[in-house]
Symmetry: D2
Subunit: 349 residues, 4 copies
């Protein structure tokens, strides 16, 4: 019966709805409630040496860190241009601090991770504690903590920034403040957070004040050694090789409430079985060369490259020689909301 | 020094970045990391009797519930048209089921709430249990549960649907399935969930299988009686009057992981002190007349009207006679991520 | 070889150890670390009408409530006399308040439950809120809260007290204080806690300050109605009939951190399948007649009787007519420590 | 009035109660519910070199580890003899394994810790993984895990065993099984647990299956280094010096649900301010000489001595040279039950 409603009647009705800030669900139900994730973002790859680094250095010539406040080249997903997003929910950029420069103190409700790409000896100071950064280190600036960066070495320092900017924007819940000085005074010695929080001991009276990890820097030397020992001790996981997640020692959970981070070792010649999960993931190559298949895209990577795998697209990773991949995603958010899913496929012969 | 870089040099550099899926952070830092929430959504108001109901009934003439799958008029925020969103993170719509109609069984990873607006005696069936709905009832369909609706009464039945569609879409984590029948068989009698989970007792061996409340229907008769007793027992809160949150009895938390819901009583003549919080909130008027000031907008409301207050805008609510407001927001998400803030202002004389 | 050590050599060695506050583990290992629980406590039964009530009334003639501070007859397990314990970890007693009497305010770190046995209209006041008690009500006095009792009715009032006195004593962690007045002023009206906490709604800004339930009184009228609805709605559990646990609405857990409490309905003619668990359990008969087999002991019970089932002894309960049993145990402690076990046996024909 | 009841009347009444497994609360209320902890256990001290070690070696001559199943000298609190308890809730003993000996595999619901006192190179195997033990190592055997010990070195190996035997006995919740072989096969290489769980990384798919820490051995080398870094980085706590708690990396909580463990550094010449808490605590001296005042008892200690401080007695600890103390207590139980309290006193000049 309803089939008899003339299209022009419907159109008139829809126009009338539109004038009242209303819309008919039945015209969009299946796109609003899709059968499975249909991400707008795409698999993408940034070649560090050929593409990113030359432009970073050019940025270093064109603007100072202080004037920029943060001299960062945002990596924008080609499926979501203009949104400063590498996945639908996360932001990534590469930050350059030249010798003698400072990125002045500020704070914001966005959580940030830094994964060090090149250079040695620049520092990040968070809440009065300084850490000296080395390639492969995973450094946190929890939300609403004062933080600044400086480079006292004699070489450029570059790191990957990962932030939950799109999440905080989506929720309209962001606040920020500028500090009144470029650098904050340090009130704790270098390495203090690692001493107090980096092992399987905690100060007897310490209590967590947020869901952010109290560990300021998860040094690569230690992550690498752990991967090495795991490799000697047992079989690789078919889908992941040897894969670890960074942990908040205060609760065994994720390092930040919005971002999970991982480090994995792929032995030379190893190819992971197809795997997919609902958390679109950003990968940074730490060591080694290899290739990844993400959906129907083939990505050949080498050290310091960045690539991204969208939600629910099948992924395979193969290392030509021993390789280490760092990665991060919004998995803590999805798990907290009961939305995260994964699927393991059949390994190819 | 860097000020000397010619604007055309910068423009050329930006164009080059753009070609490589990159962008300069320093041009957008303060909009990406704002000083305080700057929502795109706007305060808005839908007049039920004058605007919504006539169009719902027209929809009832133009399309059947079965053909529509869900015959719903989406309420779209005027600041965010075309996105099927009433706030930046939540969806709301008004659903009509005419006597004898059925909305067929499906399931999806989106969580849904129903707040009953008019009619008596239609039912929702969730996971084999049916509940008969009455005005003011708060009914849940947790994520990934089969659910269908039917109206065996002789009058139209209308309810407000609230879903986390934008959240699930933002995370690219949605799945859905259609059932193979219009209605699922009921395997539990009406009211069973309320008997088992609706008090301060739980079946001895029952364990929660998700973070969704096991209560299918929070009946208005009981909510209203609780508000009434609170009013007799003590003073109103300056910012809220008498305000309760719906609770998941399995953990004392929110009824769904993504949506918090509230019911509040404003005595006749009471005006709340200014208040703001970061969770944009959808209000549905259950009883009474009054007006609310949201940011610089004044909204006069009456029973069954819907209005929305954006993140961090000051709100005041005043009831001319005794009034009851239902509301819902993404507060569970924001609290879980450490982002939720509120501020209480000075009451006006 | 070691078998050659002469017994007198060992004895001399043991005596020397004894003088130094030491002892050889190998002589007691299997009693210290038993194959399965070997409780010292025994199944026991107190006949209310024939044994307990006459002595309670005699106590009422011999001492006032005020002079006694608490006029209670302790139920001592026959396997553990002199320890004021009904199980190895819990205390139980029957408290009598005569018309016009008062049990003065005090507080202690022990948690207490009251399960009302006879009388109507006496009150308990906890932290400034009063509740009027009726048979079958389950009333809490959380640890370190001021509480007093009074009987303004014209009949004796008797309730079962259950406390964690042995647990607190075992841990040497008990504190107590006497109040400076017999009765504390009431600052909240009767029934306020039930209104605020007794449903599936909580005051929007309320936060739990301990692991004790904020519900002061779980009224029997409601417990009984819930049991009745469950019975109409589905099959009885073979081991338990229809069994519910009292819940802390703030977290879905136990009403007190040390004591779990239960209420169960056994239809007339129903016999439970054999069941055992590691939490020795105190039962109070609310309604009905029946018999229970506990280990090798057969107990015939009637309303207001009390009986106890030791850890890991097989239990069966049979009701001659419809019956309701209240029970409590240290199950929250055992679950929290990872020690609780249960086993379901084969039903007898 | 009630004062007039003749003593012989009361005595007759009490005798009658006694015959019915009842007792009058008012005669024992204040001892059952004391104003503050009044422990039966006493401060005590075991001199390792002069008292314990000679007798351990004598035990080594008189009985084999295999025949004894566990060749352990129990340390019995002088206030609680015959109960195999060093505090009211915990057991401690010193275990000796001679070169070539084995302590055969068994498992039990009691949790055990080992704190290594002397020797190098003996092993403990837990659930198929072996750890080689060194002085100061803190080794766990979580409840219900198969475990055995062996000494393949050429010197005697001694460690302090700490178990929750009295807690499990008090709750009548203990189970045990003997293995069918002296030693279990090792299925994981030495150090695997430390590699997987000992840092701030966890295997991506690992889930805790109990509240026991997955770390098998917390090596002293690392604990000592952490204490050393803390000392360089900041001020000592007035009551504790530099004190850390061992942590379960899966949840940030205690290493076992029943036992908390601590390690603290006291600089030479440092004297702690008076401090007391409700958890009776067992101390083992790792390094240094000093003295402790516990209640009215003064204890002079040196490496490998054991001493115990009862609940709520004031403690002060002073180190003559740099000292390290290991300690353990039932604090997790008390915190879980809402019972734990501490008090800091005024430092002496």
């Amino acid at each position: 019966m309803e089939a008899e409603t003339a299209p022009e009647t419907m159109a008139a009705f829809y126009a009338e709805l539109d004038g009242q800030n209303m819309a008919p669900l039945w015209e969009s139900l299946h796109s609003l409630v899709p059968r499975q994730p249909a991400p707008v973002i795409q698999a993408a790859h940034w070649d560090y040496d050929a593409v990113v680094r030359p432009r970073l250095m050019e940025a270093g010539r064109l603007i100072t860190a202080k004037k920029a406040e943060r001299r960062v080249l945002i990596l924008e997903n080609p499926g979501l241009r203009g949104k400063a997003s590498i996945t639908q929910s996360l932001y990534a950029g590469l930050q350059l601090i030249l010798p003698g420069e400072v990125a002045p103190a500020h704070r914001h409700t966005q959580c940030a991770l830094r994964f060090i790409v090149e250079g040695e000896g620049a520092h990040t100071t968070v809440s009065g504690e300084r850490t000296i950064m080395h390639p492969g280190d995973f450094v946190l600036t929890p939300n609403w903590t004062w933080h600044d960066h400086g480079n006292e070495s004699d070489a450029p320092m570059v790191w990957l920034d990962g932030l939950d900017i799109p999440i905080v924007a989506f929720l309209d819940a962001g606040f920020a403040e500028a500090g009144n000085a470029d650098s904050q005074p340090t009130v704790r010695p270098d390495g203090d957070a690692e001493a107090r929080f980096g092992g399987t001991l905690l100060p007897v009276d310490w209590r967590a004040s947020s869901r952010n990890s109290p560990v300021l820097n998860y040094p690569y030397a230690r992550s690498r050694e752990t991967l090495h020992r795991l490799e000697r001790n047992g079989e690789a996981d078919a889908s992941h090789g040897y894969k670890l997640r960074y942990v908040n020692p205060a609760d065994g959970g994720w390092p930040m409430p919005t971002i999970g981070a991982f480090i994995q070792f792929l032995p030379g010649g190893f190819r992971t079985a197809p795997y997919r999960s609902t958390d679109s993931t950003v990968y940074a190559v730490v060591e080694g060369h290899g290739e990844s298949i993400v959906g129907d895209r083939r990505i050949r990577w080498k050290p310091r490259d960045i690539f991204v795998a969208p939600s629910w697209q099948w992924q395979e990773h193969a290392a030509s020689g021993d390789a280490v991949l760092f990665s991060f995603s919004d998995r803590p958010v999805q798990e907290g909301l009961g939305l995260w899913r994964e699927e393991r496929g059949i390994p190819r012969r």
